[in-house]
């Protein structure tokens, strides 16, 4: 498989519903000198720090003037908190769907990915737009289903949405491999696997890297909660993929989680936040993330 362009099409045949991807839509956009398009999905075991990494990266990139779309496909609004945004009280895309014959939910006529982002995303600090599957209502799962199905359709429309081609996209998946196997990130060219130096977390990274590799994708691993020099090596060894960024164990992360505030607002220059900023630099500069397929 060729991976020459900035958007290798390794997601194209992924999952139960293949992503339709029109070549050229993103590729033909002229990025300003020194800029690289970034379309990332953050995955990993629960508690590894996915939302903190995704939310902090989104805020940093927005502060640098990028238009950033954050995509939270978890039914529990974790990314919003890590972005410093207020989660919507109802699943926002419910208003964007109707029910087809046979019971499937589909986007209403005239609602494409661009309109969905315009109308149903919410504003986070620094101008980040965040689109969420939305909140599981406390009474049950029923009303989140239409929103989730609409979201899935929006995601598959993002790669070919001309009006969004200059946007940076950062997705945050729920814990584990479920959404990765079912192609919930057809917009992403970079799979950022977050893992802490425990066996469960690093084995989850291995599982995700194997899933990515099975379809010709490469995964980049970010080691979190690193407290000793050997930790990143342990993650690399267990996961079988090299660690491209190391985020130190940091009380400020635990404290911001406890308080439910964004790390970048709680402790903008704490070691963990600085390490995430370094990761952003490396991704933008192309020091990491030059995806090479098999």
């Amino acid at each position: 498989m060729s991976t020459a362009g900035p958007y290798p099409k390794f997601w194209a045949t992924v999952g139960s519903r293949p992503a339709r991807r029109r070549p050229g839509v993103v590729d033909d956009y002229e990025w300003p000198p020194g800029e690289r398009p970034l379309r990332i999905v953050v995955v990993g075991k629960g508690g590894a720090g996915k939302s903190v990494v995704a939310g902090t990266m989104a805020r940093i990139l927005a502060r640098r003037g990028r238009r950033v779309l954050a995509l939270d496909t978890d039914g529990v609004p974790g990314l919003a908190l890590s972005l410093g945004a207020t989660p919507p009280s109802t699943p926002p895309l419910v208003a964007a769907v109707d029910q087809a014959e046979g019971g499937c939910w589909r986007l209403k006529k005239g609602v494409g990915p661009v309109r969905a982002v315009q109308r149903f995303s919410t504003l986070a600090p620094d101008g980040v737009r965040v689109l969420e599957v939305g909140d599981h209502p406390v009474s049950g799962v029923a009303s989140v289903t239409p929103s989730a199905q609409a979201f899935y359709q929006v995601i598959h429309g993002l790669p070919e949405a001309r009006a969004l081609r200059a946007w940076t996209m950062i997705g945050d998946h729920p814990a584990g491999p479920r959404q990765t196997t079912h192609d919930w990130a057809s917009y992403a060219d970079t799979l950022l696997v977050v893992a802490e130096p425990t066996w469960k977390s690093a084995l989850t990274a291995r599982r995700l890297a194997e899933l990515a590799s099975a379809r010709g994708a490469a995964a980049l691993t970010v080691a979190t909660k690193v407290s000793s020099p050997g930790d990143a090596d342990r993650v690399t060894q267990i996961a079988g993929v090299p660690v491209v960024a190391t985020i130190p164990a940091d009380e400020a992360v635990r404290e911001s989680d406890r308080l439910g505030v964004a790390l970048i607002d709680h402790a903008p220059s704490c070691p963990a936040a600085r390490a995430i900023e370094q990761l952003v630099d490396d991704l933008v500069d192309g020091k990491v993330g030059q995806v090479t397929g098999p």
């Binding site: 978890d74 406890r258 308080l259």
Partner: protein, 243 residues
């Protein structure tokens, strides 16, 4: 008795499931542990070792591969798929997302919820380690007791509230995990104070077990966190207090 263990990812569901299962088995109760996570790691917390856990065959994979024959009952599946974990715990891995074309998750085989619903729970204790988040419980776990594992963080408590609402038909016990002090506990009590609470202190032994890929009960059964989970296991097999 059937026990489901739920909560946000990383809250400690698997550690709680594995340690409670081992402790019950040590106390002489027949225990069936079900790993219902699509990212199954329960074998590690039961003490089977990380690489062995990673290789464990799942029910669905085995059916698809033809490695085992289709069984006419859930009990048959458990018989065919169970593996032996330390202290006599029987472990079944219900499902795993490890295929490029996974098919439909809803009907691609027996679901953990079906399994939990149909399994015999009178003469043994079934401990079911659920997938992270709310969905697993909402999709209809039929448990007698739901353990909701919660860390002192806003996100974790938020998931806990939703699981508690979805699990209203079962007896709910909130397991407050990684507790360092009264401030941590207050945050959890404020939102989930209506439920019975089991407090598990932050414990370097459990952290070490995680790093080494071992069962906490094998690293140090006398550690404070492990002891708290052992007491929780005793409470689970005692007479229900729900009135």
């Amino acid at each position: 008795m059937k026990i489901a263990v739920a909560g946000k990812g990383g809250a400690g569901k698997t550690t709680v499931s594995g340690t409670v299962a081992r402790q019950l088995s040590r106390a002489g109760h027949p225990v069936l542990a079900i790993d219902a996570d699509t990212n199954p790691m329960l074998g590690i917390s039961l003490g089977m070792g990380p690489e062995e856990t990673y290789r464990l065959l799942t029910v669905r994979q085995g059916l698809d591969d033809g490695t085992i024959e289709h069984q006419h009952s859930v009990e048959g599946l458990v018989e065919a798929f169970g593996v032996d974990a330390p202290d006599g715990v029987r472990l079944v891995v219900a499902m795993r997302e490890a295929r490029v074309d996974p098919g439909c998750v809803c009907c691609g085989g027996i679901t953990p919820q079906q399994m939990l619903g149909e399994l015999e729970g009178e003469r043994r204790t079934v401990v079911c380690d659920m997938e992270a988040g709310v969905g697993a419980i909402v999709r209809g776990g039929k448990a007698d007791i739901v353990l909701i594992v919660v860390e002192p963080s806003v996100k974790s408590i938020d998931v806990g509230i939703r699981v508690a609402a979805a699990a209203a038909e079962a007896e709910v016990i909130v397991v407050a995990n990684r507790i360092r002090g009264e401030a941590d506990l207050e945050a959890i009590r404020a939102e989930l104070g209506d439920h019975e609470l089991a407090v598990v202190p932050e414990d370097p032994t459990i952290a070490l077990a995680d790093v080494e890929g071992r069962a906490p009960i094998d690293v140090d059964p006398g550690a404070p966190g492990v002891g708290a989970l052992a007491r929780l296991a005793e409470r689970l097999v005692a007479q229900p207090v729900r009135g």
